[in-house]
């Protein structure tokens, strides 16, 4: 599964890999720093993706030197960069674990999936969703990885908020089925 950052925004305006890499680098460091800060300050803190990513997002958006492209294009890149950062990180972590000693655990214990598996599962599901509906996939991506709220996503995708609400309702149900991440229906 290869998705490049540029592909998120190809139709908007041309972008250079350089600027993308730059955003990507900043996104990574900001996310990492914030995530670290969250854990260091309060391991039990319940933060939402929105809160976490939004802070990184605000910083990125407030950097004038990054205003290399128009607003929407910029947001697309940032969102995709954040996704890529997380997915790459998860892959590396999983690869590292595979190389290590594997401890068999009691299958009966309902252990939560390790974070890297969850991120990779969401990524895989999103790729599948993208083949069904590009818009819905982008919407979920913006919400999960970009931390954007409904009005912001509507603006980003250039559709009405009502459409986003509707898409979200369907997409999250679909994701829940895909991820097996729901209380089993009767």
């Amino acid at each position: 599964m290869e998705h490049t950052v540029e592909s998120a925004s190809g139709e908007d305006s041309p972008s250079t890999p350089h600027s993308v890499d730059e955003l990507y680098s900043i996104a990574y460091d900001e996310l990492r720093r914030l995530a670290g800060a969250v854990k260091h300050s309060d391991p039990f803190a319940t933060v939402t993706t929105t809160a976490l990513v939004n802070e990184a997002w605000l910083k990125l958006a407030a950097s004038p030197h990054l205003r290399i492209v128009d607003e929407r294009h910029f947001k697309h890149i940032v969102v995709r960069a954040m996704r890529q950062v997380l997915v790459d990180s998860a892959r590396r972590r999983r690869a590292g674990k595979r190389a290590g000693v594997h401890v068999e655990l009691d299958d009966a214990l309902p252990l939560p999936a390790p974070p890297e598996d969850r991120v990779l599962a969401i990524d895989a599901a999103l790729q599948k969703l993208a083949t069904l509906s590009e818009r819905q996939a982008r919407m979920v991506e913006a919400r999960f990885f970009g931390g954007l709220d409904v009005p912001a996503i509507a603006q980003l995708l250039n559709v009405s908020e009502a459409t986003i609400q509707r898409d979200w309702r369907l997409a999250r149900a679909w994701l829940a089925v895909e991820l097996g991440d729901h209380t089993a229906p009767a």
């Binding site: 995530a35 939402t48 974070p115």
Partner: protein, 847 residues
């Protein structure tokens, strides 16, 4: 759930139709839809799941878990090279900084680690760049890089000094430092930043958190994570966020880091140091604390100028800021203009600001890459002259460029490379004004030469020559001038023979009526310098005499004339014509003072030369005075830790040794060794370093510490041998000194020295000064072996050689004369002993 795109569109429509219906209504609506069974099944599943989905809390826990390399309070356990992490120092953009320990030697370091390096090539490149920059910057005020490597999983790291200190502002607050002390610390910060700028590196994120003061009160500049190279074409922006409080307005508006941006940040830090808080508006004297002996008006002026929001009103360089701070600390009037005048000159300055900043940078760039050699400071002198010339011409060029207004858009950029690139474009586009075009091409060639891009300089100068031939013809001084510069490039590119041919051709081509043109003198000057470098000193002196003579008839008060005088003096000095050298330098000194000001390095170099001449003829007091003057001027200009200063101190220490002021010489030579050792382009294997160690050997020798002296002599001789080969006079001299620095068997010493003098005779010629001086050393050994007849037989002719070359009764021969006198006494010839002693007592003639 595997569906086609078409099926999904149907699922989507049906889902929204039925999701809010009762289960019964839903079932019947779906049944009535006529959709394929798999679509209906999918919709049913989605609708059933929909109310239970708990996805809305997003990915925060996953992000937090994924992106911390380890748990919240855990540290990485795997080692990084020889280092083991024991704590966290900082976690910001571009890597995490850990406190780490090297167990085998027990040292603690700051270890910077780039987690997940493969994620982004640019991030990795930045990390590597920071490491490279730190490796380049060896300065006592900049945190040194110790080590670098990759962990087993490929994670890159580098180790720096762990600075156990507090941010500068905090340090000043907790120690309740006086204004004077704060300013002294600030000056040290400026010195460190200037050292970076001299290597064309802009820090870009100066703030108190990045400037620590150690317990010993030393300043250390950290974190070059977003530093950038001014000479790089790469225009990438920093990969993290600036601290806006210290960022210059133009920086906050999104521009890349510049020298001027660093000046602004330093200004804010200065205000914070003085007042305890960052400036909120115009800094007034009343904002500053009153302290006896401090002039708040002057301080406020420095603060205002450093933090001026417009680049053109700000100090053009850290050097300029530093000069004002140092002047203030020294109680001198400020260098910079009063604010009211600055305002009226604003337009003027704006036109020139890029020129000024760029010139400052090229000046700095020119300082790099020079290597000093020999006991004089010829190379340093040449470098300074080159700088003067280069800067003068560069300024003219940039003024021309910017006055025309064609390049107004580039004025914001101080990247020299950009300026030059733009300049070349401008120049090539200037077909309407070919004369101007030619001038620009020539100037650009000089700038390119200054930036060591010789290929480009060469092609530019060819264009200029072609233009001159078209416009003015082959005999016009303007064409010939371009050709002189072309020839100079040939010299730089090591084509001496071609350069000589070209210069002689150009000189021939000048019509008699045009020989007053500066280019004519310049051609002779270049030829003279070239011949001298080629070792054809006599011819060189003749050529330089011509350069002086043709200039003299026109413009004596010009840089060109001073240069010609200085070169002639140098050539004469090197050719043993000391009287000519001294008179030429003496002529140049007042001119240089008037032209360049009394504090200019070139004035210092003339003093150093005069000191050399004075010491050669034994006028040690004069020599010390001149050499001290050189040291003072250079220290004020370059800063006390600059290697030019060390070079001047080295020769001063030599004279002090000759004068018998051993204690003073000792402390100087210790400093010199320290500075050379820390200067990247010299370092502890350079000839300069070796010579300084050799001089320390002399100092120890004179103190009677023979073992230590011998150690120094031997080390210095070994280093120099590697650099200059076994037959060099200084190598032989040091080996002789090493052999003599013993109280052991005199016969063995004699044998060793006989070997050395034999080598000297064959390498340098038996009638050479240095071979004669070595024979005098051998005489010392013979005297210890009580072979007095041999002493006399050897010393008398050797002293004649020495006297005929450097003049009679110089300090270098005094000791030998005393040995000779003692030998006469020992063989019972008291009359000749007395006459020999009398010759020693006669003082050298003062200037």
């Amino acid at each position: 759930m595997n569906l086609s795109t078409e099926a999904w569109a149907l699922v989507e429509r049906l889902f929204h139709e039925v999701v809010d219906l009762s289960p019964e209504a839903r079932a019947s609506r779906l049944a009535a839809s006529g959709a394929p069974p798999e679509v209906i099944a999918a919709v049913q599943q989605l609708v059933a799941v929909e109310p239970t989905v708990v996805l809305d809390d997003g990915l925060a826990p996953e992000i937090a878990a994924l992106l911390s390399p380890t748990g919240p309070a855990e540290l990485p356990t795997a080692p990084f090279g020889p280092y083991r992490v024991i704590g966290t120092l900082g976690d910001g953009g571009m890597g995490v900084v850990y406190l780490a320990r090297r167990d085998d030697v027990g040292a603690e370091v700051a270890l910077k680690v780039l987690w997940d390096a493969p994620l982004s090539p640019l991030r990795r490149a930045r990390f590597d760049e920071e490491q490279r920059i730190l490796a380049t910057l060896r300065h006592p005020g900049i945190v040194p890089l110790y080590d670098a490597g990759q962990a087993d999983d490929g994670t890159p790291w580098f180790a720096m000094e762990h600075v156990d200190g507090a941010p500068i502002t905090q340090h000043c607050a907790t120690t309740a430092a006086s204004i004077r002390h704060r300013l002294q610390l600030f000056r040290d910060v400026c010195l460190a930043v200037r050292a970076a700028h001299e290597r064309l590196i802009v820090h870009g994120d100066l703030k108190p958190a990045n400037i620590l003061v150690t317990r010993e009160g030393r300043v250390r500049l950290l974190d070059f994570g977003i530093a950038s190279r001014l000479d790089a074409d790469d225009t990438s922006t920093p990969l993290r966020h600036l601290t806006p409080a210290y960022a210059a307005p133009e920086r906050r508006a999104g521009e890349a880091g510049t020298v001027s941006g660093d000046v602004f940040a330093l200004g804010v830090i200065l205000v914070e140091l003085l007042t305890g808080s960052r400036p909120t508006g115009r800094v007034e004297a009343a904002h500053l604390p009153a302290e006896r002996g401090e002039d708040r008006n002057d301080l406020a002026h420095i603060c205002r100028r450093a933090t001026a929001s417009g680049v053109e009103a700000r100090y053009p360089s850290v050097e300029a800021l530093l000069r004002d701070v140092e002047r203030y600390l020294g109680g001198f009037p400020l260098d910079s203009l009063p604010a009211s005048m600055a305002y009226s000159l604003r337009k003027f300055v704006r036109r020139r600001r890029a020129a000024v900043v760029a010139a400052t940078l090229v000046l700095a760039a020119g300082t790099i890459g020079l290597v000093l050699h020999n006991r004089t400071i010829t190379a340093a002198r040449d470098a300074a002259l080159l700088e003067v010339e280069r800067t003068t011409r560069l300024r003219q060029f940039l003024e021309n460029l910017f006055q025309g207004g064609q390049a107004a858009g580039t004025a914001d950029s101080v990247r020299v490379a950009t300026l030059v690139a733009n300049g070349i474009r401008e120049a090539r586009a200037l077909t309407m004004d070919p004369a101007m075009q030619m001038e620009l091409l020539e100037s650009l060639a000089i700038v390119s030469e200054g930036m060591a891009t010789y290929g480009r300089a060469d092609s530019l100068i060819r264009e200029a020559v072609a233009q001159g031939l078209r416009l003015y013809g082959p005999e016009d001084p303007r064409t010939l001038q371009a050709q002189v510069r072309g020839a100079r490039l040939l010299i730089v590119r090591d084509s001496s023979a071609a350069a000589e041919r070209e210069l002689r051709r150009v000189i021939q081509a000048f019509r008699p009526a045009d020989q007053g043109h500066p280019a004519y003198s310049e051609a002779w000057l270049e030829l003279g310098k070239l011949l001298r470098v080629l070792g054809r000193t006599k011819e060189g002196i003749d050529a330089l005499r011509r350069a002086v003579a043709v200039r003299h008839s026109r413009d004596t008060l010009s840089i060109g004339f001073v240069e010609a005088l200085r070169e002639l003096g140098n050539a004469a000095g090197a050719g043993g014509e000391l009287a000519l050298a001294e008179s030429t330098w003496t002529r140049g000194l007042p001119l240089a003072r008037r032209l360049l000001g009394p504090t200019h390095p070139q004035v210092a170099f003339l003093h150093a030369n005069l000191g050399h001449a004075a010491s050669q003829r034994g006028a040690l007091d004069d020599a010390i005075r001149d050499r001290q003057a050189a040291v003072d001027i250079l220290a004020a200009w370059y800063g006390i830790d600059h290697y030019f200063v060390a070079a001047a101190q080295y020769v001063l220490a030599q004279t002090l040794v000759a004068q018998g002021r051993i204690a003073e010489a000792d402390s100087l030579v210790t400093r010199v060794i320290d500075i050379y050792g820390r200067t990247p382009i010299l370092g502890p294997t350079s000839p300069n370093y070796a010579l300084a160690v050799g001089l320390r050997g002399t100092v120890r020798d004179r103190r009677g510490d023979l073992a230590a002296a011998r150690e120094d002599y031997t080390a210095a001789a070994a280093l120099l041998r590697r650099a200059w080969g076994p037959a060099h006079k200084d190598v032989l001299n040091l080996e002789a000194s090493s052999a003599l620095a013993t109280t052991g068997d005199p016969a063995a010493v004699v044998t060793t020295l006989q070997g050395i003098t034999a080598r000297a005779d064959s390498a340098l010629g038996p009638r050479s000064l240095h071979a004669a001086q070595l024979r005098l050393q051998l005489a010392t050994a013979l005297s210890r072996a009580r072979r007095y007849e041999d002493v006399i037989a050897l010393s008398v002719p050797a002293l004649q050689v020495v006297d005929s070359i450097v003049g009679p009764n110089t300090p270098s021969s005094a000791a030998a004369r005393e040995t000779l006198a003692a030998a006469f006494e020992a063989v019972g010839d008291t009359a000749r002993a007395r006459s020999t002693r009398q010759a020693v007592a006669a003082p050298g003639t003062p200037r």
